[in-house]
């Protein structure tokens, strides 16, 4: 009987413990804010930029709200929650000087209410551009605040999730938004911003500290920015059949280049006009050129498609590409000049360099061809472009050089034959350059899903414009290659559908048809990020773009099967199983591709003993950090806090005294026992 009772009691106890509502005190106190994008601290050879802390929430709808708290706040530090419209250089400057603010939360305002939003410099990449290419009187990025490169002493977070912003606002209304004079006397809704950055000062300091041998607690303070460059050629670099090929060493190369990265004030990037329009135009050009030359043998010239990474941060990718070419490490590192696998390509082998810059904000179909110095090659190519301009209107702007990868090559050789095709003349037509507003609507992109819906894409859309530009470039390059005009016909409606798909891929959905055709796996539905990131983390976008470029420039080897990739093949090619086209997704073919990626890490981190102060190469690094995030909690009033600490201290002191007393008592007892025993022993 008693046993059964015990058993029942045990069961009851068990249920009590397991069904109890257990929650940690910390989880009761704090609530996480999701969808928060912090900003990192980045450093170069001389400076640090960007910047945890806690503060009282102050939700601002107008500049007046912000000014009010800066002037009258009685319970600092505050964390103002402001819209992107209020987030200007002046506001940040005002907050910096005020001292009552310990952080900043930014939420998204409708794009229509903003005239501009760009935190790039007015002259992007001032240190590594060709000298005197950005005049004070007409800068490239006139709306640029330069905040990206400002050293801000407090953390800034961008909260994308509107639900979370409403949560913060409700908490603010309930606890903070009344009787401001007595804020000090009551509990207040507060935020904790965690974005503690390890590195400080500048790149040489943090690199040196990361490599110290004497350091007992080795910490990596910062990582170089970097990723991969992508390149592909129109014709194979080797001649011959099967595995018995010899490299073609006397090619001259026409380079068609674009960039592969952007940045923004926060972790999240968009990059519609820069770099996606240039990137998609390059991919379309590659596709059209391949379609035009699929049956042809290669001549004296070849086309080299190049996508540079990290260009936003002092042209990391193009500097490294040039450095590799100069060292004889392109296309593959460590091949001798007379190897029998691939030719070694050097800067002198480039006969023309055509760069596709921002192309999405053209006004009235105007396009501008910029170049530094006039030369026979450039004039000749410009004339060809004009012949093929179609619906666009071309204008040449000599002695003008907007920020572009060609700066790296021109700094090395001022006669380098490079030209830039862009949608802007004297300054950017894109007021949202390198910001979260450079999105699909900035380039008026609407996805038609033309292959499925069987609709034709209207004239005047961005898709048609991209096709127009790529057709112009492709036909002009064809003339350069063959010295005759292209007489075949191109299916421009099909091209427009493909451009539609490509823009959709980069702007809206990574799991689009093109990416499904080139690599047969799905991604979690995450937005693609075009921030170059640190060298040891590779971006999805780079890999996917490399595959797409390969797909467009590849030769078909036959039916797609397991032999395509598994049977030993020629080292001069990559072999992939890919779909035939976006309309024939289920037909798999074997593609033989001359495409690869090369490291896009600044030569400054490669050259042993590089002189950081020389300013020759990009020196950008990103600080390491432990945690990025926001928590919301209710901060007790100052009086309450003091009370808590007083009670705590008193309790502690009391128990110390208590312990000391006990100890003395115990030691007396033990001593007595010991002496008693020893006397006892003496007696016996």
């Amino acid at each position: 009987m008693a046993k059964i009772f015990h058993f029942q009691a045990l069961v009851v106890l068990f249920y009590l413990f397991t069904f109890g509502y257990g929650q940690r005190t910390k989880d009761k106190m704090y609530e996480k804010i999701h969808g928060a994008n912090g900003c990192y601290r980045r450093l170069n050879a001389t400076h640090q930029i960007g910047g945890g802390s806690t503060g009282v929430v102050h939700y601002c709808e107008t500049q007046g709200d912000l000014n009010y708290i800066l002037k009258n706040g009685t319970a600092p530090p505050y964390i103002p929650v402001i819209s992107t419209k209020l987030f200007t250089a002046e506001t940040v400057e005002q907050i910096k000087g005020n001292g009552k603010v310990s952080g900043l939360i930014v939420y998204l305002e409708d794009k229509e209410k903003l005239d501009s939003f760009t935190h790039e410099n007015q002259c992007p990449n001032p240190l590594t551009s060709v000298k005197d290419t950005c005049a004070k009187s007409s800068v490239w990025n006139p709306h640029g605040t330069g905040l990206l490169y400002a050293d801000i002493p407090f953390p800034i977070f961008y909260v994308e999730n509107q639900v979370e912003i409403v949560k913060i606002k409700d908490c603010f209304t309930k606890f903070n938004n009344f009787s401001y004079d007595s804020q000090d006397d009551r509990s207040l809704c507060s935020l904790e911003l965690k974005s503690f950055m390890y590195a400080t000062t500048n790149t040489p300091t943090c690199r040196r500290r990361s490599d110290l041998v004497t350091n007992l607690n080795p910490v990596k303070f910062c990582d170089p920015l970097g990723d991969s460059n992508v390149w592909a050629t129109l014709f194979p670099l080797v001649r011959g059949k099967g595995n018995e090929t010899v490299p073609i060493r006397d090619f001259k190369y026409i380079v068609i280049a674009a960039r592969l990265d952007t940045t923004s004030m926060f972790e999240k990037t968009e990059g519609a006009n820069n770099p996606i329009t240039g990137l998609v135009t390059l991919l379309m050009t590659a596709k059209l050129l391949k379609d035009m030359t699929r049956q042809d043998e290669s001549g004296e010239k070849n086309v080299l498609f190049m996508l540079f990474n990290g260009e936003t941060y002092d042209y990391i990718g193009s500097q490294r590409m040039l450095y590799d070419m100069q060292q004889g490490d392109f296309p593959v590192k460590g091949l001798k000049n007379d190897n029998n696998i691939l030719p070694v390509i050097r800067p002198d082998d480039i006969s023309l360099f055509v760069e596709l810059s921002q192309l999405g904000n053209s006004q009235g179909g105007n396009l501008y061809v910029h170049y530094y110095k006039n030369s026979a090659e450039i004039t000749r190519f410009y004339e060809k472009l004009v012949q093929n301009q179609g619906a666009a209107t071309l204008r040449n702007i000599s002695q003008s050089l907007p920020p572009a990868s060609v700066h790296s090559f021109l700094r090395n050789n001022s006669d380098f034959p490079g030209l830039i095709i862009a949608d802007h003349e004297k300054s950017y037509t894109n007021p949202f350059y390198n910001s979260i507003y450079d999105n699909a609507s900035n380039i008026a992109f609407i996805y038609y899903n033309a292959t499925e819906n069987n609709v034709s894409i209207p004239i005047g859309s961005i898709q048609q414009f991209v096709v127009n530009v790529s057709e112009m470039v492709a036909k002009s390059v064809y003339q350069e290659l063959r010295n005759v005009t292209y007489t075949g016909t191109l299916d421009l409606q099909e091209s427009a559908s493909l451009a539609d798909e490509l823009l959709h891929c980069y702007l809206e959905d990574l799991n689009c048809k093109v990416h499904m055709a080139t690599q047969k796996s799905r991604f979690p539905k995450a937005p693609d990020n075009f921030y170059v990131g640190v060298e040891h983390v590779s971006k999805f976008v780079t890999t996917l773009t490399a595959l797409t470029l390969g797909w467009f420039t590849g030769d078909i080897e036959g039916k797609g099967d397991i032999d395509c990739t598994n049977v030993p093949k020629n080292y001069a090619f990559h072999y992939y199983n890919m779909s035939k086209s976006i309309t024939d997704m289920n037909v798999t073919l074997c593609y033989k591709i001359t495409m690869n990626t090369t490291e896009a890490v600044s030569p400054a981190f490669v050259i042993p003993g590089y002189d950081w102060s020389s300013g020759q190469y990009s020196t950008w690094t990103e600080s390491t950090w432990a945690e990025l995030g926001i928590r919301i909690f209710l901060k007790p009033s100052a009086a309450h806090e003091k009370m808590t600490i007083a009670i705590g201290s008193m309790t502690m002191i009391f128990f110390f005294r208590f312990r000391v007393l006990c100890k003395i008592e115990v030691s007396y007892t033990v001593y007595a026992a010991v002496t008693h025993r020893s006397t006892h022993r003496l007696l016996t």
Binding site: Y198, T200, T201, R208, R209, L212, T214, N215, L216
Partner: protein, 101 residues
């Protein structure tokens, strides 16, 4: 060890050895010596070895204070100048704090 149970010559022996060991760049041994034997040297009724013990206690106290002043000066100087000394400061550091210049 309870000094009250130790014979006087043993006290002197201990005090002398603590003083000698302190020369091996161990200022805390001097500090311990000075505190430990303070009562023996100054507050106990006179006995034969006390004079020597007093001598060692005073010298240990002086030695440890010099060390204290030197260390405090160096630590203050170093902490104030670590950032501006740059490379040199990093090379003589065993631990580099994160997030500070």
């Amino acid at each position: 060890m309870d000094l009250s149970k130790v014979p006087n010559e043993k006290k002197l022996y201990l005090c002398r050895w603590y003083f000698r060991v302190g020369f091996a760049l161990l200022p805390f041994v001097w500090t311990v010596n000075a505190i430990w034997f303070f009562n023996e040297a100054f507050r106990k009724p006179e006995y034969e070895e006390q004079k020597n013990i007093k001598k060692y206690v005073i010298m240990s106290a002086i030695g440890s204070s010099i060390w204290f002043v030197l260390l405090a000066t160096w630590i203050t100087t170093f902490q104030l100048n670590r950032a501006s000394w740059g490379e040199f400061a990093d090379h003589i550091s065993f631990i580099i704090p994160v997030g500070t210049p």
